[in-house]
Subunit: 249 residues, 2 copies
Amino acid sequence: MLRHPASLYLKNQPVSKYNQVSCANCGLDNICLPRGLSQAEINDISQVVKAKKTLQRGEFIYHEGDNFRGILAIKSGSAKLVASDQHGNEHILNILLPGELLGFDGLSDEKHTCAAIALETTSFCVLPADSMDELFQNLPGLTRELFRHTGEKMSEDKNQLILSKRPAEERLAYFLISLSERLKRRGFSSSEFKLSLTRQEIGNHLGLALETVSRLLKKFQDDNLIVVQNRFITITDQTALKKLLQVTE
Amino acid sequence: MLRHPASLYLKNQPVSKYNQVSCANCGLDNICLPRGLSQAEINDISQVVKAKKTLQRGEFIYHEGDNFRGILAIKSGSAKLVASDQHGNEHILNILLPGELLGFDGLSDEKHTCAAIALETTSFCVLPADSMDELFQNLPGLTRELFRHTGEKMSEDKNQLILSKRPAEERLAYFLISLSERLKRRGFSSSEFKLSLTRQEIGNHLGLALETVSRLLKKFQDDNLIVVQNRFITITDQTALKKLLQVTE
DNA sequence: CGGAAACTTGAAACCTTTCAAGAGTCGTGG
DNA sequence: CCACGACTCTTGAAAGGTTTCAAGTTTCCG
């Protein structure tokens, strides 16, 4: 039984048009795939983009090893990209917010190398893989756009790689600021938001023990940078928080 | 004055055909871009792939901020991908070996977000950006192939991200094994090779102090896994070295 | 051969984790 | 509507891995 997903971020939640399945009418068209395409091109891809599905927290968008079905776009909610290593440990590689694309991990060999799991009630659209070759030929603009998105993903990965060598405080600060800015770009409040992750998950994502995450969040609060109420975060001093990233070592 | 680059890896160095600039005749065609393309398609891209250039250690293949000129392929030698963060620190993101592609960091916004620097005498080819749109339309096979390569790059980044959360010993072991396997795939010896990086650079790449790298290399030698002679590494017990990656934590 | 750069080695300092215990939060069922 | 149990989060103290600092040695190249 599908029901209307609850509002997940506190402020400025854009009103989604849940009954329509057209890129032309989607409120996310400026940040999702169609960004940079002409109206005609958007109409073209609208015809192959499949209707969204809705999942609950913990449900899989795709599993590791699944066949690549296409590039997906988060319409509402959020998700995590999880890979498991040879020890059987799981690593949260990325967090996906509304308007962000995923599925690129299946691009190289038709199999997904990690899993995508909903962090809350989440809906998404699909640009099916089997129509991609045809689209490449007819819509070079879309090809470029897909490459652009892919390049952006790689850029993010690069940032995370650099970040992974920095001290814990900086990693957490970057995580909060990155979430804040991405939410802002997508029309949500940049200063108040709910983490859809547990301390455990944040720690896993950043390579920290959950206790370290807890201690640092408290420290940020003691330093008057943020207010923490369970999973609700209010950034009270974005400037000072950003400064943590710019301290010369 | 171009001269024949010295042999850089100890064994089984493939004889490159330095005077020809055709993908059809290149010894790297099974691991480079043409992999997976038909003979006709290879002939097509041969016509746009530009002649290789040769650089010495320390010379830039491209700088951070440079305009994206296209996808490049290392023909011989090796290179490092370097990004600098807001502190002015440099981070070695990747090492490129013969047959490997680079330049993907310029894909998203036409500017390179990191620099590529030769680690030794190195030559490379270029698939120029300005011919890419046309190629996309005429050679869907190439488009898929490029996406496949891009996906592989992302897969590698993913592995490095997972690795960055593991202890130092595992990081270094993975680094050596990864180099070994990539060299093998490209026709070089997998058991004997020369690091074209300093301890400093290895440490930077793996997020370790150079002293830690030095200590661990010694430890691996004491454990009879490898023999270290300056920058020459001989892997004497690949199985045991790999086991370091599979120890349950 | 001489000097700069790269590398090794030891000891102390430091950041982060691990272990352990207790408190808070949330949803379900009585 | 409150109570219970499971999960999540907080907090302290000790342990551990890695870095930093500081020499000293080796290698490389002009």
